[in-house]
């Protein structure tokens, strides 16, 4: 992020994640420093181009014995962070399971399958079943826009589209409305439909959805099974791979470089 001090590492600017020493620049969050160092902390609502939000809680880590979101907690010298532990991964799995049952996440019928960050996290954390009773919600599908369609049944309310539209596109197309289980993304247009909004296909808000809620029309299933983003390597492995090559980590980018299947760490 642009407001961070990037004056370089200081020898004192180190903390540890699972016993591994991680350097950080002053102002960085634990998650940013970890990703830069190639340590993967599972997350859904974080994006490197946007300010931290702290809503999905997948990145919850134990910092000096207390739980906190790695995407909002500042990295400080000497912190001892636990990340890849059975207890934390169990909790992350439960969060994922709740996200899966709250929406209609039928992977075989979703165009995003294989490139979906929610699915990739479920693979990474070895979630085999949603466990809880399904909500089977009945939410709106807005297919009015010529290039984009919006299926709220798959929305996980990470607000990436809201933030991208506001902070990157400067359009404020999306907003979260309602309370509790009735919360949903609404569209800022006179009719409430996407076709009457300012959204265009090349907007950041149209690209950023980590699940299959906002999709481009006429490109579905264009990449065959086996060649999709998360087919060969887990999302955690890809983050390590990108960090080692100093490639900016944007796990949801559609044009992300293809990972080799086997790559020594």
């Amino acid at each position: 992020m642009s407001d961070y001090n990037t004056s370089g590492f200081d020898s004192a600017n180190m903390f540890s994640i699972d016993g591994r020493r991680i350097p950080f620049k002053p102002g960085q969050t634990i998650l940013q420093a970890a990703l830069e160092a190639g340590v993967y902390i599972p997350h859904l609502c974080h994006h490197p181009d946007l300010k931290p939000h702290g809503s999905c809680k997948l990145c919850t880590v134990t910092v000096n014995g207390r739980n906190g979101s790695a995407c909002t907690a500042r990295a400080l010298p000497g912190l001892e962070v636990e990340n890849d532990t059975p207890a934390l991964n169990d909790r992350r799995r439960v969060l994922l399971q709740m996200l899966f049952v709250e929406g209609d996440h039928f992977c075989p019928g979703c165009e995003k399958s294989g490139n979906c960050q929610l699915q990739a996290l479920a693979y990474d954390l070895e979630m085999v079943a949603p466990h809880f009773r399904h909500f089977f919600p009945k939410r709106t599908v807005d297919a009015s826009h010529p290039d984009i369609w919006l299926d709220l049944n798959r929305c996980i309310m990470c607000e990436l589209c809201v933030r991208a539209s506001r902070d990157i596109d400067g359009k404020n197309v999306f907003m979260l409305a309602g309370r509790g289980a009735n919360s949903q993304v609404v569209v800022n247009s006179p009719t409430g439909l996407l076709k009457d909004s300012a959204l265009t296909a090349d907007d950041a808000a149209a690209q950023i959805c980590p699940v299959g809620a906002i999709l481009h029309k006429r490109v579905g299933y264009s990449v065959p099974i086996g060649q999709r983003q998360f087919d060969d390597a887990t999302i955690g492995h890809q983050v390590e791979y990108l960090a080692r090559r100093h490639i900016p980590i944007k796990p949801v980018a559609v044009d992300a470089p293809k990972m080799p299947e086997k790559e020594g760490v």
Partner: protein, 183 residues
Amino acid sequence: MNAPHQIARKLRVATTSLSGCFGCHMSLLDIDERLLELAHLVEFDRSPITDIKHCGPCDIGLVEGGVCNAENVHVLRELRENCKVLVALGACAVNGGLPAQRNNLDINQCLSQVYRNADGVVQVPNDPELPLLLDKVYPINEIVRVDYFLPGCPPSGDTIWKFLTDLLTGRTPRIEHPLLKFD
């Protein structure tokens, strides 16, 4: 007197398809020549392979498909009662899968759309032998207790083989990337 040499009993496996497409059974056949190896370890009870209609006491029950009608509930409960280990095989058994996409629709509206003929007359089949439809398609763990889940649409032959060999040889079955796939 020496006891006669006891031959290890083969494990009994039952399989069934509820509201599924038999794709998971096809995938089971897709383990190819390893089927012979499997045949050394198990014998099949109720299954489309044996055409046995009711399940006897079994060690492992593999259930494909979600639960969409009253007959599915009966079959599923029979398997649960008779099988020591019940496995949800494939996306439909795990989370309802594609059939569960009708859960957002009104079932009466669904039937009248499907059974409307060219003249606009609706003739929904109504016979006592036809099982009653449920309001929704349910994953099997919302009806009975399930011991293991094997997601995928269908899980690949390799995934099924890894899972079954783990289970049959006494290891805790573990399916991880790249065998773990939801689609």
